[in-house]
């Protein structure tokens, strides 16, 4: 059933070091899905400092009414204390307010929601109607199907569950607006950026992940070599991150990143539910582990019982 009287959505455009984050294409994929059930006028919102170029990219997303651009000092670092009250007021005029379920969206959306006295639906992985959604709970051991009758529906969207939209030619109008007043409750001190030499985990077609079985940080070089052969991103289990083999932004799982690549190769990791939560929707899963009873084999399409220090070099040589 499609309803139509002036149903509108506001999508907050996420920015990363490259400017326009690829997550936005997935969030718009979810908007396209929502359009199966309801006629939507979609506005995009870009807020930040020196973000005109991001708005330019956003304007190339098809099916958008306008791109609102709030460019100014107060938007620098996108502090939630400054953005949330302003977003709460702005999104009150819409039927939907959507962000990606990234650390950016997770930090911001609940703060906006509480100011609006709204219970958001976070980590949306399926859209069943204009008001019914599924979200994973218990590390993905179940999907909760929920309905919201609230006036504005606040959603955060799991990138791994939706298809990208394709950028077209610039078409939507960019409409400048006044940026939010700064709240000065917190100060930005510093940000350690990760070097993006490899494809980003969340959008890579192939992901190679390593666990405690790698035994040392240096041995992750083996995975990087394999990843370079495959054009893959590299992930890690929590145990590997905790042991300092890999940085925190590489953690895949319930409390790390969620990926759903075409091919996921799990190497020297056991396959705890908390890890599976981050990769179970991958299309093809390969597991290499020396323990034939490792639970990861249960979640794999192809399993190889082998010592990774033999198997991975051999694999690199054969590719």
């Amino acid at each position: 059933m499609r309803s139509s009287n002036n149903v509108s959505a506001l999508v907050l455009v996420e920015q990363d070091t490259s400017g326009f984050s690829l997550i936005n294409l997935k969030v718009m994929g979810a908007i396209e899905r929502l359009r199966h059930f309801v006629d939507l006028e979609v506005d995009l919102l870009v807020v930040g400092k020196d973000c005109a170029a991001v708005a330019g990219m956003a304007a190339r997303i098809p099916g958008v009414r306008q791109v609102l651009l709030a460019d100014g000092e107060s938007g620098e670092h996108q502090l939630p204390e400054t953005l949330a009250p302003w977003l709460a007021e702005l999104s009150g005029g819409y039927t939907y307010f959507c962000v990606g379920a990234t650390t950016f969206g997770k930090n911001l959306l609940p703060r906006v929601a509480a100011l609006m006295d709204i219970q958001p639906v976070t980590d949306v992985v399926a859209i069943h109607s204009d008001c019914e959604f599924s979200r994973p709970i218990y590390a993905g051991s179940a999907l909760a199907r929920v309905r919201t009758g609230q006036l504005t529906k606040l959603l955060s969207v799991r990138a791994s569950a939706f298809a990208d939209v394709t950028l077209g030619e610039s078409s939507a109008a960019i409409v400048p607006m006044t940026p939010p007043p700064a709240q000065n409750m917190s100060r930005f001190i510093e940000q350690q950026q990760v070097q993006a030499e490899r494809p980003e985990l969340a959008s890579a077609r192939v992901v190679v992940s390593g666990g405690r079985g790698l035994q040392a940080g240096e041995n992750f070089q083996l995975l990087y070599r394999l990843a370079d052969k495959l054009g893959a991103a590299v992930g890690a289990s929590r145990a590997a991150v905790d042991a300092g083999f890999a940085p925190n932004d590489m953690q895949v799982g319930q409390t790390g990143k969620v990926v759903a690549p075409e091919l996921y190769i799990a190497i020297g990791l056991s396959g705890a539910v908390q890890h599976l939560a981050g990769m179970r929707d991958s299309r093809v899963v390969v597991a290499i582990n020396k323990d034939p009873d490792a639970p990861i084999f249960q979640a794999a399409d192809y399993g190889l019982v082998a010592d990774l220090f033999d198997a991975v070099p051999e694999l690199i040589a054969l590719l």
Binding site: A84, A114, A142, V146, R280, E314
Partner: protein
């Protein structure tokens, strides 16, 4: 400074759970219960601030059935000074939990409120951010480092793209991530001592809040099962399967 720590009782992370066949809930009768791992980290962070003589008092709070007193006692055994049990049999949404905690913040006036970043049952990752909004406090979510400096607290946050450090003006809300610390275990004498520590029970109804659920849960469904995979005998066979059968190379 006074620290308020919110802790939740959840199914132990080591227990494998699945939805009931009729989809009305999770099959968790008799499952082992524990303190939410992120809350353990929050309690540990508070104790370390007290050991550094930054904190003077640690108050722990949990909202739920009588059973949550078990987790409150654990927190007392670890080093919290006093516990509050807000008693209710109704499951509450994050917005409702945040409203309850907001009332307690008004009553207790802590300088720092610590929560886990996420409860491992509902996987919401919302309560801390909502509480910060309701209190009008700054928020430091997904913290992997906390340092008090004068009237500010410096928080290093784990983000998708690296680590970010913010200085928050106190009072503030912080939610803890996995790598903030390694929680300690309680000692036998401390477990005994914890029995004497104050634990106040406050019926939820006494707070006079409207906590009607905003979302309706229609069903809990099992995720799609993956087809049984195949075990291969060599790397060469694996490469061949990936090329010819799965066509991903």
């Amino acid at each position: 400074m006074k620290i308020l720590v919110a802790i939740k009782r959840v199914v132990d992370p080591g227990v494998r759970v699945r939805p009931l066949t009729d989809g009305s809930g999770m099959d968790i009768t008799n499952a082992k219960m524990s303190m939410n791992p992120f809350c353990e980290i929050a309690v540990e962070a508070a104790i370390r601030l007290k050991e550094q003589q930054v904190a003077t008092e640690i108050v722990v709070v949990s909202i739920g059935t009588q059973a949550v007193q078990e987790q409150l006692r654990s927190a007392l055994a670890l080093g919290a000074d006093r516990a509050l049990h807000i008693s209710t049999d109704s499951p509450l949404e994050p917005l409702a939990i945040a409203k309850v905690l907001h009332v307690l913040v008004q009553q207790e006036q802590p300088q720092l409120v610590l929560l886990g970043k996420q409860s491992i049952d509902g996987d919401h990752n919302q309560t801390g951010q909502m509480l910060a909004a309701l209190c009008g406090f700054p928020q430091g979510t997904f913290a992997s480092r906390i340092e008090c400096k004068g009237d500010e607290v410096w928080v290093t946050r784990e983000l998708d793209g690296g680590l970010q450090t913010l200085a928050l003006r106190l009072p503030a809300v912080i939610t803890t991530d996995l790598r903030l610390n390694q929680p300690r275990y309680p000692t036998m004498p401390n477990i005994m001592k914890a029995r004497q520590k104050p634990l106040a029970v406050i019926p939820l109804a006494d707070l006079g809040l409207d906590l009607q659920p905003r979302l309706q849960t229609l069903a809990l469904e099992a995720p799609k099962l993956r087809q049984q995979g195949v075990m291969l005998s060599s790397v060469a066979e694996l490469v061949d399967k990936l090329r010819q059968e799965a066509k991903v190379l």
